[in-house]
Amino acid sequence: MALTREQMAMRVARELQDGYYVNLGIGIPTLVANYVPEGMEVMLQSENGLLGMGPFPTEDEIDADMINAGKQTVTAATGASIFSSAESFAMIRGGHVDLTVLGAFEVDTQGNIASWMIPGKLIKGMGGAMDLVAGADNIIVTMTHASKHGESKLLSTCSLPLTGAGCIKKVLTDLAYLEIENGAFILKERAPGVSVEEIVEKTEGELVVPDSVPEMTF
């Protein structure tokens, strides 16, 4: 079975470490915050200028001046700091964020990522995604392994305009967890009940399959 969005978030959460500063993109990455392991603390960075993002506000707490990068109303966690956009991206660009999790349309075996633009459709803009992928050492991309039409999103060369070049080393799809090394995807783990064959079939870029590919457990 392919992973649910919740399971994908749970799997990403296993990469967290106590004391990590983490930037979570919109969508599945946001859900990761719900699965921080017991006894561990992480601090969420929101690129509009908030380090230490708390939960959504109650009706009474709602404040138009307190939002996250998705423009949702949020709260500040204990020990938060709030600053300008230049300071926020100084942190990001300077490599001070420990883990960045974001979605994508495509990833390729060179570590390229395409996530912001589909030519011919409207161009909404890259927001902070280009800064995030350029600035972080440790990035996990979360996406479905293939499109609804079965076309692989793990490619030898991205077909869409890039968000960043040569910056991705870890990909979690609904079928597998893979790492990118020496111009190939390395299959590290598979979703429960998903066969290696299915992953091979749905991976267009070069895929290295080790002798043993453990199944994820939840």
Binding site: N48, I62, T73, I82, A86, K124, G125, A134
Partner: protein
């Protein structure tokens, strides 16, 4: 009063001198911390052909979006413009130009503009469409692109409190691009919720020193929320 008193008493006075085809840098992120009344005044003035530098272009009917209604904007420099149907329509019709700029690069371009730094290198955008036509240079084995700074004829800024000398503090995440925009305008106009006397703000806690501020005005603000999200109490 002192030559440092930046307070003006009307939005007409605040935006005096704004002319067609000028460049205006605006603070705000989404609808958070936007200079709502200064934008409204630009609509009233009907100034055309503007280049607006702002992370976003508001939404239909609010924020910078209202300047699209009478086609006052010729060009937007933004990182994300996905919240606005009229924007899309004018863009597809070729009536509006857009220069998409990564959010962190945009913030740094404003800061650099205000700080007398004409250009800087960043890894952001290397190998992407953003790098087209830009110099690439290697430092310590990594590739970076050259990005030039931005300054504006005017900067429009939303603060929380300011003293009469134009020392400004921002509230929560309404800070965002505002202090950067404030440094990068030839003429910088700040609208705030409250004006206090000099000496009432703690000197080390001022976000925008008054030296950057030319005109200061007290406004009232709707503060529309773009994505209202709540949890159960």
């Amino acid at each position: 009063m002192s030559g440092f008193d930046k307070v003006v008493n009307s939005y007409e006075e605040a935006l005096a001198g704004l002319e067609d085809n000028m460049t205006v840098i605006a603070g705000g992120f989404g609808l958070c911390g936007i200079p709502e009344n200064l934008i409204q005044q630009i609509k009233v003035m009907g100034t055309k052909g503007l280049t607006i530098v702002s992370n976003n272009c508001g939404v239909d009917g609010f924020g910078l979006g209202i300047l699209l209604e009478d086609r006052q904007i010729r060009k937007m420099v933004s990182s994300y413009v996905g919240e606005n149907a009229l924007f899309e329509q004018q863009l597809l019709a070729g009536e509006l130009e857009v220069e998409l700029t990564p959010q962190g690069t945009l913030a740094e371009k404003m800061r650099a503009g205000g700080a007398g730094i004409p250009a800087f290198y960043t890894a952001t955008g290397f190998g992407t469409p953003v790098a087209e036509g830009k110099e690439v240079r290697e430092f310590n084995g990594r590739n970076y692109i050259l990005e030039e700074s931005i300054t504006g004829d005017f900067a429009i800024v939303k603060g929380w409190k300011a003293d009469r000398y134009g020392n400004v503090i921002y509230r929560d995440t309404a800070q965002n691009f505002n202090p950067l925009a404030a440094t990068a305008g030839k003429i910088t106009i700040v609208e705030v919720e409250e004006i206090v006397e000099p000496g009432e703000l703690e000197p080390t806690q001022i976000h925008t020193p008054g030296i950057y501020v030319n005109r200061l005005i007290k406004g009232t603000f709707e503060k529309r929320i773009e994505q209202r999200t709540v949890r159960q109490a």
